[in-house]
Amino acid sequence: MEPLMAVTIGILFAAAIYMMLRRSIVKLVVGLILLSNAANLLIFATAGMLRGAPPLVPQGLSAPANMVADPLPQAMVLTAIVIAFGVLSFAVVLVRRAWEIVRTDDLDKMKDTDT
């Protein structure tokens, strides 16, 4: 599965970067969302992907009996998902405020500080 994921993630990154290079600021936000998704998936997949072995300790045991998926990257990705959402919501509101004031979504027209 991992090689397939490698290709998929590569495409996700490419799409994200392509969108981030657009002049429209809304497209930049779309690129940002794709980028955080791609990065999360990269961390998750690089640690190795196991089917049907969630990192849980069965009731009554002190440790899982069989090999389970690596819990550490999962914990990190979980943090990353939440933080990405925080950043995204801030960015989206920021873009909206910028639009209200400068009335343009063209990044090339926003490069001066005193609009």
């Binding site: 397939l4 990154f13 779309v30 979980l78 959402f85 919501s89 004031i101």
Partner: protein, 776 residues
């Protein structure tokens, strides 16, 4: 010794406090510090005179073999004495000279810090320590030249001095590193003993070049001489101390110190002799063009520094004796003359010698001091300057190398210097009385004490040169081959040197007599002068600014796109290069994929591509949703239930947020040209490809044991949780989770603030709008 130097910096920092306690008298209190050090140095004299070297060692950075070792031998002792004695006098003088300035305490602090740096420089044995003190003197000098920081000329002169000396310092650092490599030691004392090995080393030529560059820039040798006269923008006490008696001699000190290690080779002798002779002639020649008394003196300092370099280059015993005598003589008379110049400036309000006249009636004591010091500068008996000059001419006459070039240049310098001395001592004090911007009065005793003492020293050493013999022997013992017997006398008999002296007296007198007309002729050379080394410096600086502007326009043009492209291309280039060099990624993988998993991956790709190409915002948001939910599905299938739940929740919220906010924004517009889109596509494709290759390389690589095995084994027993991911989040990495909550809270506050300001007044709207613009 460490206490003296390092404690001195502490005293420097206390200057403002002292000023609060005792006002302008703080300068006199501060002068106690160099006085105490000087007295302590005097107590060391019997040991030093015996040819011994005193050591104090203190490991500073033992791991790098850097020690703060201080040593006192004859050479260091002479310099340390000059620094402390002239330093104490200058402090007293400065207290009077700047007594009405509110920034006197900062002046005292910086000049004391300079004094300690200089002391550290001449006492340091370790190359690194010496270099640190060397740069400290550059920095403190910068602060002192630019002390009148409201004056643009002073700021520019300060920057020029800093750039030239620090540029040379950079070369010096490289030279020191090579020196330490070639000599396998960072200790100056050890390096001096390894002279033979150093001179035969392959690195000798480059290291000599670098060290000489450092020394020449610091000591204002041709073609770097231009910064010194400009540095006269500093208050006069600074000029008297830094730019005549001490700092500019740091380069000379270094050359003298390294003379046994690097000297007496063909390149050393040729470079030092020629550069020194050229600097001498150049300084003396440029001096007589000027009427500003400080500029005149500054150029004659350039001449003296050239003479010292020349003498070190010749390196015979007579030359080294002349070196010591001339060094001491110059510090004494030049310090005195600069302080006299300061008195003239202070009392008359002008520095132009042609505007002054007849001042001996109003300030007879100053006139007397000036006359004695100027006699020494002119090299006339019975002063120390005469002995120095006679010895110099003698050693030049005996020089083997390039005598035909050096001798005429030195002779030119000698008689022009004589003229300079006459101009400085006679013009302001004799002749008819002239009106000056301020009505002059006799200088206060605080200002007169320093120059008077220095002049008396010049005279007494001249009359009784025997006093200096043991000192000269001790110094030459340090820089020459070994201990020598030196004899100093005023009368050397009727020899060629005396004939040359007499000739220079006649010619110098002639120049002085015809000075006004001579300046008129020299003024015609002005266009030629404008093409000197200083013009080169200016052009270099302008070029640097242009280059900076050009590259800023190119790289920092305000287009976020260009930054991204630049960053990504560099990243792809470097990482890709490393990746392909290390290993050829093999694409032969055993793919065991179920159809539903492949479909899921296809869904992600399709969603991402769709989000990029669709023209409708709603479709784009829907496509993003597809990608997000496909990722959540991946988490479900591959054993990450917690991630799946979080992703589902966040994805839902994201879609809601986008729908709520983005639909108030304009529709997607196609703003880029097809070529730009193609370019972006290539960059994006390259970056994506790099990520794929990287991940494949990671997967093909050797798997290290998982660090989470401990957490898996102890989750239940230590964390009392069955969900290992949860235990990691709340127990193992609890601080991380706290940070995450903090980020979320900040973001929420930011969002709230932006939405609140929306309802606010017009003014707040503009405020937050500008801020939003910067971040966007």
């Amino acid at each position: 010794m460490q206490l003296a130097v390092l404690g001195g910096f502490g005293v420097a920092a206390m200057a403002p406090l002292l000023y609060r306690w005792c006002g302008a008298r703080a300068a006199i209190v501060m002068a106690l510090l160099p006085t105490v050090i000087a007295v302590w140095l005097m107590t060391l004299w019997p040991t030093i005179a015996g040819g011994e070297t005193l050591w104090r060692e203190w490991a500073w950075v033992p791991g790098l073999d850097i020690t703060l070792t201080f040593m006192v031998d004859g050479l260091a002792w002479l310099f340390a004495m000059l620094i402390t004695v002239v330093g104490a006098l200058v402090l007293v003088y400065a207290g009077e000279y700047l007594h009405d300035r509110r920034d006197l305490p900062s002046f005292l602090a910086v000049i004391t810090a300079f004094m300690m740096s200089m002391l550290g420089l001449v006492l340091a044995d370790n190359l690194v320590a010496l270099f640190v003190f060397w740069e400290l003197t550059s920095i403190t000098s910068y602060l002192l030249i630019g002390f009148n920081h409201t004056d643009p000329a002073a700021r520019q002169a300060a920057r020029q001095g800093l750039l030239v000396t620090v540029g040379g310092g950079l070369a010096l650092l490289a030279g020191f590193v090579m020196l330490a490599q070639a000599g396998e030691s960072w200790s100056l004392a050890e390096l001096t003993e390894r002279g033979e090995r150093l001179k035969a080393h392959a690195l000798y030529a480059p290291l000599l070049t670098c060290v000489l560059l450092g020394a020449f820039t610091k000591s204002a040798q041709f073609p770097f001489h231009f910064w010194l006269p400009n540095a006269m923008a500093a208050p006069t006490p600074v000029s008297a101390y830094l730019h005549s008696a001490t700092m500019v001699k740091a380069g000379i000190y270094l050359l003298a110190r390294l003379h046994p290690a690097l000297g007496d080779t063909e390149p050393w002798v040729v470079t030092l002799s020629l550069v020194g002779a050229l600097t001498m002639a150049c300084g003396a020649f440029l001096a007589i063009r000027h009427t500003n008394v400080k500029t005149l003196l500054a150029y004659s300092t350039v001449m003296a520094l050239g003479a010292l370099t020349l003498l070190l280059g010749i390196g015979t015993e007579t030359a080294l004796t002349a070196f010591v005598a001339f060094l001491l003589a110059h510090s004494l008379y030049k310090g005195a003359l600069f302080m006299v110049a300061g008195i003239l400036d202070h009392e008359t309000g002008t520095r132009d010698v042609t505007a002054m006249g007849g001042l001996r009636h109003v300030m007879p004591r100053t006139a007397l001091v000036a006359a004695v010091a100027a006699l020494s500068l002119a090299g006339l008996p019975p002063l120390l300057g005469f002995i120095g000059k006679e010895l110099m001419l003698e050693s030049l006459l005996a020089a083997g190398h390039y005598r035909a070039v050096i001798l005429p240049l030195a002779f030119l310098a000698a008689f022009l210097t004589l003229a300079v001395a006459a101009i400085v001592a006679i013009r302001p004090f004799f002749g008819p009385r002239r009106e000056t911007p301020r009505t002059p009065r006799e200088a206060p005793p605080g200002m007169l004490a320093g120059p008077a003492l220095l002049a008396v020293l010049s005279l007494s050493f001249g009359l009784a040169p025997g006093l200096l013999e043991s000192l000269v022997s001790a110094v030459i013992g340090g820089i020459g081959a070994g201990p020598v017997e030196t004899r100093l006398a005023l009368w050397h008999g009727l020899n060629p040197a005396l004939v040359l002296s007499l000739a220079s007296l006649v010619l110098g007198g002639l120049v002085f007599y015809r000075w006004d007309r001579l300046r008129g002729w020299l003024a015609r050379l002005e266009p030629l002068m404008a093409r000197g080394p200083e013009a080169g410096y200016e052009a270099l600086l302008r070029g640097l600014v242009l280059l900076a502007e050009w590259q800023t326009r190119l790289l920092q043009n305000g287009h976020i796109r260009n930054y991204l492209i630049m960053t990504l291309l560099v990243l792809v280039g470097l990482v890709g290069h490393a990746l392909l060099m290390r290993q050829t990624p093999s694409l032969a993988f055993t793919l065991e994929v179920y159809p539903h998993e492949a479909a899921m991956a296809g869904l992600m790709v399709a969603g991402a591509v769709a989000a990029c190409v669709v023209r409708s915002r709603l479709t784009a948001v829907a496509a993003l949703g597809v990608v997000g939910f496909a990722i959540a599905l991946t988490f479900v299938l591959f054993s990450a239930p917690d991630l799946a739940i979080t992703q589902l929740l966040v994805e839902t919220l994201t879609v809601v947020l986008l729908v709520l906010v983005l639909f108030r924004l304009p529709r997607f517009a196609t703003l880029s040209t097809p070529i730009e889109r193609l370019r972006d596509l290539v960059v994006a494709g390259l970056s994506g490809g790099l990520i794929t290759l990287l991940m494949l390389a990671v997967l093909a690589g050797e798997r290290l044991p998982r660090i989470s095995d401990y957490m898996v084994a102890n989750s239940q027993s230590l964390g009392h949780g069955h969900n290992i991911v949860n235990v990691i989040l709340v127990d193992v990495r609890a601080l991380d989770t706290l940070g995450e909550m903090f980020v979320l809270a900040l973001s929420a506050i930011g969002v709230f603030a932006m939405l609140r300001f929306h309802a606010g007044s017009c003014a707040t709207q503009r405020g937050s709008g500008t801020r939003g613009d910067d971040d966007g």
